[in-house]
């Protein structure tokens, strides 16, 4: 352990002093011409204490001094694994499903609200996963398709009075068209450029939403969107249908849950179909995929369109739930957040994405006092994940390294 500590203490000390130097000008110099140190040192010492604990855990782990904890933990983990493989997968899926079904009965209004948020983000994450995880194209403007879907429903509903179920396929369609428009010129580009161009497209769509006053009402957004309406059969005077607005959060929760179940099944089926294999071959090595007869152009465009469709549908649900849309909801930070969920959970793995969304949406709700630190922690999480576990919490089973990256 001492050996391990000797290896890292110098870097740690330099890093912490460096941080002190970075913090002090921001916190210690005041516009009235005074210089203080107290606040800087306080903040810095909190960070120092926190990182020191992490460092000690790391050192002890590296020096095998944590055996008394890690051994039982790994034994428990092994047992859990044994139990989990003892039951077939469908048992676990049905347990999750039953939990999801009964959740609103005991969660209360606030809990249901958070759960709906989680479900919508799962749908978004699954869509982004098709683009990033399966086809391997980094898309930083993904939230724009969500916005297109939401605005399609909002405009059609408020201006033309169309019902939700009519607008849902139209939302998917407009998002899909937007995806193709973005996808078509970007397909020739390499990884990094692709990321920047999609980011640019996302911003363009947001600026258009912000400035096209006649259609989108600009930064004020669109108010008064109707919720989902359904026809319930009534058996009182014979057999009639009654129109019914889904206003209660509990009912909306079930619609969102149905959406997620459909999305999960769709992504799973896509992943193990001919199309999914084609995407993965493009991700692993585009040249080789083309050589084997995969039409890379069509499949990349399809990945974009497919991802956009998921986002468009989720967007329509979002608009129906919030009853209000404005360009504020579709900024770049949202794109980064969805990407962060996918990366944290594990690109290309469905349970990973669900876990990632829960980690990034539900956990901040529990620690509400740290609300303002949320994005800070997001950023830090992304860096730390990339440094220590680039494949995510639950890595996908079929994932390789791109051949051109191995060389360089």
């Amino acid at each position: 352990m001492i050996q391990e500590f000797k290896k890292v203490w110098k870097q740690y000390t330099i890093g912490m002093l460096w941080l002190l130097g970075l913090l002090w000008p921001l916190l210690g110099i005041h516009p009235d011409g005074t210089i203080t140190f107290q606040k800087t040192v306080t903040v810095w010492s909190y960070i120092l204490a926190g990182t020191f604990v992490c460092l000690m855990i790391y050192v002890m782990k590296a020096g095998d001094s944590l055996k008394f904890i890690s051994n039982p933990v790994s034994r428990v983990a092994g047992n859990i694994k044994k139990v989990s493989t003892a039951f077939p997968t469908w048992v676990w899926i049905s347990v999750t499903l039953v939990f999801a079904l009964i959740y609103p009965l005991f969660a209360g209004r606030y809990g249901t609200d958070v759960a709906i948020n989680v479900l919508l983000y799962i749908c978004l994450g699954l869509g982004l996963n098709v683009v990033v995880g399966l086809a391997g194209m980094l898309d930083l403007g993904y939230i724009a398709f969500y916005g297109v879907g939401a605005y399609t429903y909002a405009v059609l509903n408020v201006t033309y009075g169309l019902a939700f179920w009519v607008c849902l396929p139209l939302s998917a369609l407009t998002a899909c068209i937007a995806g193709c428009i973005v996808g078509y010129p970007t397909l020739r580009m390499r990884g990094d450029y692709l990321a920047i161009v999609t980011l640019g497209f996302g911003e363009i769509i947001r600026i258009i939403l912000n400035n096209w006053m006649t259609l989108t009402n600009g930064p004020n957004g669109i108010l008064g969107i109707k919720p989902i309406g359904i026809f319930l059969p009534i058996f009182e005077n014979g057999f009639t249908f009654e129109h019914f607005w889904v206003k209660k959060l509990q009912f909306f929760y079930y619609f969102a849950l149905a959406l997620v179940i459909v999305a999960v099944i769709a992504v799973q089926r896509l992943n193990f179909s001919r199309v999914g294999r084609a995407w993965e071959s493009i991700r692993e090595d585009e040249t080789a995929a083309e050589l084997m007869g995969v039409n890379t152009f069509i499949y990349k465009l399809l990945a974009y369109a497919m991802g956009a469709v998921f986002a468009g549908i989720a967007g329509a649900f979002f608009a129906a739930r919030m009853k209000f849309v404005s360009p504020e909801s579709f900024t770049f930070l949202e794109s980064a957040m969805v990407l962060c969920m996918v990366v944290l959970g594990g690109m290309g793995s469905i349970p990973g994405i669900i876990l990632g969304v829960i980690a990034l949406i539900a956990l901040p709700e529990i620690f509400r006092e740290f609300q303002s630190y949320r994005m800070l922690i997001f950023g830090a999480t992304m860096i730390i994940m990339m440094l220590f576990r680039p494949a995510g919490l639950i890595p996908a089973k079929r994932m390789g390294t791109r051949s051109e990256e191995k060389e360089g």
């Binding site: 640019g200 400035n211 992304m382």
Partner: protein, 303 residues
Amino acid sequence: MEYFIQQLINGITLGGMYALIALGYTMVYGVIQLINFAHGEFFAAGGYVGAIALAYFAGLGYMGTHPVICLTASFMIAMAYCAYLAVGVEKIAYKPLRKQSRLAALLSALGMSIFLSNGMMLTQGVYDKVYPGELFQGRFDFGMVTISYLQIMIVSLTACLLVGLNLLVFKTKIGMAMRATAQDKTMSALVAIGSNRIISLTFAIGAGLAAAAGIMYGLYYGSVKYDMGFVPGIKAFAAAVLGGIGNITGAMIGGLIIGMVEIFGAGYISGEYKDVFAFIILIAVLYFKPNGIMGENIDDTRV
């Protein structure tokens, strides 16, 4: 005609700032083939530190008596701070990932960008930070065309920095080492060039230039905000791509072009869509001429 010349002058001012930011992107890309997403945040941090330093000097009362010295000192402080910040960022977020896939490095850079902008928000507050406005109030009037002292200061300082950078890269031993590292890290290591040190230096120089641009932006528009680095960062990246990423001269020309296009687009087409023009240029360049107007990494002028 006067309107055109006026817009041209405004365009050069803005384009010079974009050129300064774009240089950081292009130098870092030239050396380690990474799009440094956090570069826009160096720009914002420079603006903030400049504002803090200027406000501090104003608080001490030196601002009224020695404005030029205060301004120079603020530029120095902000540039040094951002260079220091960039070296730290590079060591933490990029250096361990050099052997990993480029996607990992890109995501780490994105995370760093979010982290830094929120760090600035938490330490400096959500609201705009106002720059002291009494500096460089005067202006020259040529009929309808006016040039403020501030614009002259910005353009001349930008020109000095660009010339200085060109001298550094093309005339000195350090510049030679940087170009060598950009071409071949292994080979340059064999001739005793410490590639780690050179990469850190590249980051530091790029961030210093971005910080200078940050103060200019603050002086020009009157205030800075924690999330202001994002959009200029993307536009500057567009400039770097337009000039051919990895190409220093290209980045300068690209920055000027993007600045001009933005100003003229806002002046003649639509002010509301001024941010869109830079993105459209970026997309068009990548689609029709992915190597940029000056060509990407073709000869030994790359850093």
